[in-house]
């Protein structure tokens, strides 16, 4: 008997039992089900949620791969800064990738293992199918944490994020906050020393702190926030040869992912474009404030306010947030008009938080979480405009 037939027989056997969701999750991973339409349309388009999620994962893979190389590169470059003189020659080295394999892959494995474990447990308890939402969340999470994040911490945060961020609301499609950012926020507030400073962004920097071999790597935002010089060129910033969370450094690859998402019509171009527009607008306002001498170099805000608006777009997590986080369809605005407002405000508020938050100069995840909360409100007013038009039409007709 073929595998297909065997699995089909097992599916029939498990039908109606507690184990059915767990078995079906694995079965439907291998085979698209033999389900046919009944009632409604007799034919269906080719896309399902698995395919949709898969596209997002594929768009993230270049960032992951780059992040693995970058983990090693930042480590060795912190030990021997001369490596930075010839980035291209020194970046794609196996030694760098090896650090990625021993540091970044475990993050991915823990994220998926723990997250999917929680999903399976909830599916079995609640008797629904295992939903695909975590496939993307599980890939996002390792990309937005510092490389040295302890695995146990990540595991705790993932459990919190999946349970409180998603399952308590009823699972994929019902949540208010982006689960990946909920996980990031949990880590940030529960373990702040592991999420900021000049040690966590470079592998082994924490371990070596206080020893003769101490290394460090401040993020660009961290440097600007402290009004320090930044040693990286714009090329480095754009291509991502800089310290930062695992997968968010390369604006180039993020834009490549964005192009793929927009081309496949999976990601909302409205949100991506408007987030960048909002960030650029806030950046320009700050630039004007500096240009008008309202803020001088003595101010603690000077470093980030004077950063050129276009530079803001490629440093920190803004690009990553705009392309992969803000576009989460469940937590974003759901109307096309609302998406413009939602995205613009995310960009706008991100840069504002970035400049004014002294302790942690990155505002993207907070801005997105904030707008997640306001997305239904935005939609409400957009939809009300439609409702008002309808009422107006009725009045004109009857008058």
């Amino acid at each position: 008997m073929s595998l297909k037939q065997n699995l089909h027989n097992l599916k029939e056997k498990y039908k109606g039992t507690k184990m059915a969701p767990a078995f079906n999750a694995i079965h439907t991973f291998l085979y698209m089900p033999n389900e046919v339409t009944h009632g409604g349309t007799h034919i269906k388009a080719a896309d399902d949620l698995k395919r949709t999620m898969n596209i997002v994962i594929i768009s993230l893979l270049p960032c992951l791969l780059f992040g693995m190389f970058n983990a090693g590169y930042q480590h060795y470059a912190a030990i021997d800064p001369s490596l930075r003189d010839n980035v291209l020659a020194n970046f794609f080295a196996f030694d760098n990738l090896w650090i990625g394999i021993i540091k970044v892959l475990p993050l991915v494995i823990v994220s998926y293992g723990v997250g999917l474990g929680v999903e399976f447990i909830f599916a079995i308890i609640k008797g629904h199918e295992v939903e695909e939402g975590y496939l993307v969340t599980g890939m996002l999470v390792p990309l937005i944490v510092p490389v040295d994040t302890p695995l146990w911490m990540l595991a705790v945060a993932v459990v919190f994020g999946v349970v409180i961020g998603k399952e308590v609301f009823g699972g994929t499609g019902m949540n208010i906050l982006n689960p990946a950012l909920t996980i990031r926020a949990f880590l940030f507030f529960a373990y702040p020393t592991w999420m900021s400073g000049d040690k966590v962004w470079v592998y082994d920097a924490v371990n070596r702190a206080g020893t003769a071999d101490a290394i460090s790597g401040e993020t660009i935002l961290g440097s600007y926030a402290q009004n320090q010089e930044v040693i990286y060129s714009n090329w480095d910033k754009f291509m991502g040869f800089i310290p930062g969370s695992v997968g968010e450094t390369s604006t180039f690859l993020i834009l490549l992912g964005a192009a793929f998402l927009i081309f496949t019509k999976i990601g909302s171009w409205r949100i991506i474009v408007s987030t960048f527009l909002g960030a650029a607008a806030m950046g320009m306002i700050f630039n004007q404030v500096v240009a008008a001498d309202i803020i001088t170099s003595s101010s603690k805000f000077y470093g980030l306010m004077s950063t050129a608006w276009w530079e803001h777009l490629m440093i920190g997590g803004l690009a990553f947030g705009a392309v992969f986080m803000a576009t989460d369809p469940v937590t974003a605005s759901q109307t096309n008009k609302g998406k413009w407002i939602y995205g613009f405000l995310i960009g706008f508020i991100s840069i504002m938080i970035r400049v004014f938050n002294p302790a942690y100069p990155e505002g993207v995840f907070l801005a997105i979480l904030l707008m997640n909360v306001f997305a239904p409100t935005i939609d409400h007013y957009v939809v009300q405009a439609n409702v008002k038009n309808r009422l107006k039409r009725a009045k004109v007709k009857t008058a």
């Binding site: 297909k4 699995l7 089909h8 439907t28 291998l30 085979y31 698209m32 089900p33 033999n34 389900e35 046919v36 339409t37 009944h38 009632g39 409604g40 349309t41 007799h42 034919i43 269906k44 388009a45 080719a46 896309d47 399902d48 949620l49 698995k50 395919r51 949709t52 898969n54 596209i55 199918e129 939903e131 939402g133 009823g170 699972g171 994929t172 499609g173 019902m174 081309f263 496949t264 019509k265 999976i266 909302s268 409205r270 369809p329 469940v330 974003a332 759901q334 109307t335 096309n336 939609d379 939809v383 439609n386 409702v387 038009n389 309808r390 009422l391 039409r393 009725a394 007709k397 009857t398």
Partner: protein, 449 residues
Amino acid sequence: MSKDIRIKKGLDIKLVGVAEKTTTQSSLSSVYAIKPEDFHGITPKLIAREGAKVKAGEALFHSKSDDRILFPSPVSGTITEVIRGERRKVLTVKIDADTHQDYKDFGIKDASKMTGEEVKNHLFASGCWPFVKQRPYDVVANPNQAPKAIFISAYASAPLAADLDYTLAGKEVELQAAITAISKLTSGKVHVSVGSKSNSPFEKISGIELHKVSGPHPSGNVGTQIATIDPINKGQVVWVIAPQDLVIIGELLLTGKFNATRIVALTGSKFAKPQYVAAIIGASVAHFTKDNLGTDNTRIISGNVLSGIKIKETGFLRYYDNQITAIPEGNDYEFFGWNKPVFDKVSTTRAFTFSWLNPNKKYDLTTNTNGEHRAFVVTGSYEAVFPLDIYPMQLLKAFMYKDLDEMEALGGYEVAPEDFALTEFICVSKQPHQKIIREGLDLMRQELG
């Protein structure tokens, strides 16, 4: 003044099995069946009992809520069986057709000399009233509520739909008689929509407001046309009649006979020779598709693939349909079906689905759902195929949580289930949109009247 309708949002689903423009006459089938469930929202009360002889046009049952609304037998013959379901609900009335057809005589009428009330009574008496449907709610029209306009879509954009220019050709006289009569039923206009490049018999009809329609499906849906021409507001009613039914009304006026024959398109890849056939409402599908239909693992649909109803091999042509579609069932597993590139299915995305490369290719789609039912996740995709000025997902959700105020405010009066067929087709979460809309409309009708 006629107003052209150009629809941009939508999707033409091109399928294998377009009916070739030849019509065969089917011989009289031995059994005909009328199913009260075709008349949504009507509770039938039987008039004719098992064993009774009926003529074509003689009433089988009437509506429980309004006994003027009669439902006629399409043929003359003997009622052999009344199949009942739970709580004695009438499911099917079966009639054994006589070899020689005998028509009940309703008298020849000159429509131009009739008043609105006379037209109405004539339609009641002859059993033609059920051809008049109403929006909101997409049910048989309530004769007590005056419509602000009457809409007729003579342009079919649904997948493989019967070409109405072809099926109506040569019926100008009947159509004119019917139009003259039904225009008495409204103080407003009679809007007729035809394809922009069509050669419709309606071009020559007077007493109508002609609209030329272009753009992808659902441009041919009467709901789309109503929304563009004269949208329904709260408290208003419009009536809708299908052009093939106008022919029957026209013939009734001209000859006094209820002749329920219509040209039916046999479409879909499971037909050896997709073509047109003249058949009577309620005819046994097996009879008029004989030697043409491959029945092995086949989904037979009375209507089109988007809004039609699944029928059995032994099923019957439904009351309002002028199309039978037969496509393969998709009851098989597909290895890694969710992530491998797809060339043989239709999609509005480019998520390794390649139907965008070849927009004119005809597809042989199966009934597979291509994925499992999920909560709503993806946003913005429905809007691309939904031309009405309504937020489709928000309306669907309001219909699901049954908030009557919101259902009303978001446009519930303006929609019919078929308007949500395309959003259902492309739905990544495989939600049953048309069912949600139908149930919501039933609730609105019950609560808001």
